[in-house]
């Protein structure tokens, strides 16, 4: 899969690492020549293109015509919007993602044709609201702009969920233990399955009930 990333900063760095580890082909576009050199050194396996990402010439140069996805994560919402619009209208890139800083722009972007929008402010604020305790919960993955919470929890001996069956736990509505990973094996659990120490649970739930779910599994919410 070929991905173009537009933008700079730490997020580009980690996205690139992550995509490379999955075997994707990554091209990065950035306006600052010095920064491009740095990126090139850090990520030798990627292609770094120097230029204005809203310029169709640059996009074409970066291989937009045969890319599968483009991710716009600059610090300017308008840039991100225009990049995705051009990518889609001129190069028919199948998947475009834009980062927005202003949550109000989610709706605007949607109205202007960019549907996959990630709002950092919304995610951070909903995380804070959900009072996440990071020790026991790892890999919090926001899906669909924070409409669904996907959480990985490691079962420890002091947790109330230990040796309980899923049935007995009485998790709230709109939540579900989708998968238990035990000794490297993935189990799709049923009501009668018990939770053992060391299990990694993959929990899906709506953000509204996340605190409740965590309380039931872990015994407290900080």
């Amino acid at each position: 899969m070929k991905i173009i990333i537009v933008g700079g900063g730490k997020i580009v760095h980690f996205l690139t690492k992550s995509f490379l580890s999955k075997g994707y082909e990554v091209t990065i576009i950035h306006e600052d020549h010095e920064y491009c050199k740095k990126l090139s050194r850090k990520h030798p396996k990627t292609t770094v293109v120097h230029g204005k990402p809203t310029n169709p010439v640059i996009l074409e140069d970066a291989g937009a015509s045969y890319s599968d996805a483009i991710i716009a994560v600059t610090l300017q919402d308008p840039e991100n919007l225009i990049v995705c619009q051009i990518a889609e209208k001129m190069y028919q890139i199948p998947k475009t993602f834009a980062l927005v800083n202003d949550p109000k722009n989610i709706e605007i972007f949607n109205k202007l044709g960019v549907t996959k929008v990630i709002s950092t402010a919304s995610i951070v604020s909903s995380m804070i609201e959900q009072k996440v305790l990071l020790e026991d919960m790892i890999n919090l993955t926001p899906i669909e702009e924070g409409k669904l919470a996907l959480v990985e929890v490691v079962a420890q001996s002091e947790h109330p969920m230990i040796n309980q069956t899923l049935e007995n736990l009485q998790l709230p509505e709109n939540s579900l233990v989708g998968c238990i990973i035990r000794d490297g094996k993935a189990i799709i659990p049923r009501g009668k399955d018990e939770i053992l120490t060391g299990d990694r649970l993959v929990v899906l739930c709506l953000p509204e009930v996340q605190s409740q779910v965590m309380k039931t599994l872990l015994g407290r919410v900080e």
Binding site: D77, P78, E79, Q85, M90, L112
Partner: protein
Amino acid sequence: MAMNNNIKNNNKEYIIIVGCGRIGSRMANELSQTGKSVVVIDNDPNAFTKLDESFSGFMIEGDGVETDVLEEAKIKRADVLIVSTSNDAANMMIAQIGKNVYNIDQVLARVVDPDELETYNVLEIETVSPTLLASRAMVEKILKEDN
């Protein structure tokens, strides 16, 4: 340029100008002189000093990209939206918001970098490019004198 009162008063009464630079401020001055309601938006409060003493419209300090700021300017009432910031991407976004979200009758954007003109066209935004106009005008003068 003297404003003559021969300009027909069509229904373009409420005009919002985003960006109070050299171009935006001149437009604001002239339009206000003809009796139109003019609202100027700019992030930098010092930009408003470019407006004439005779400017009698409203000035709003804020980022024209933000819907809150546009709403403060009563964008729903606007007949004309002129976008003239120094950032093409912002101009494109605001112009699209005006045209596609608020359905403003006439939306004009200023093109800063002529290389971006194609992008504006793909997005179907009506543009005026000062750089292109200026260079064309000068070239014409040069070529005319050749003859």
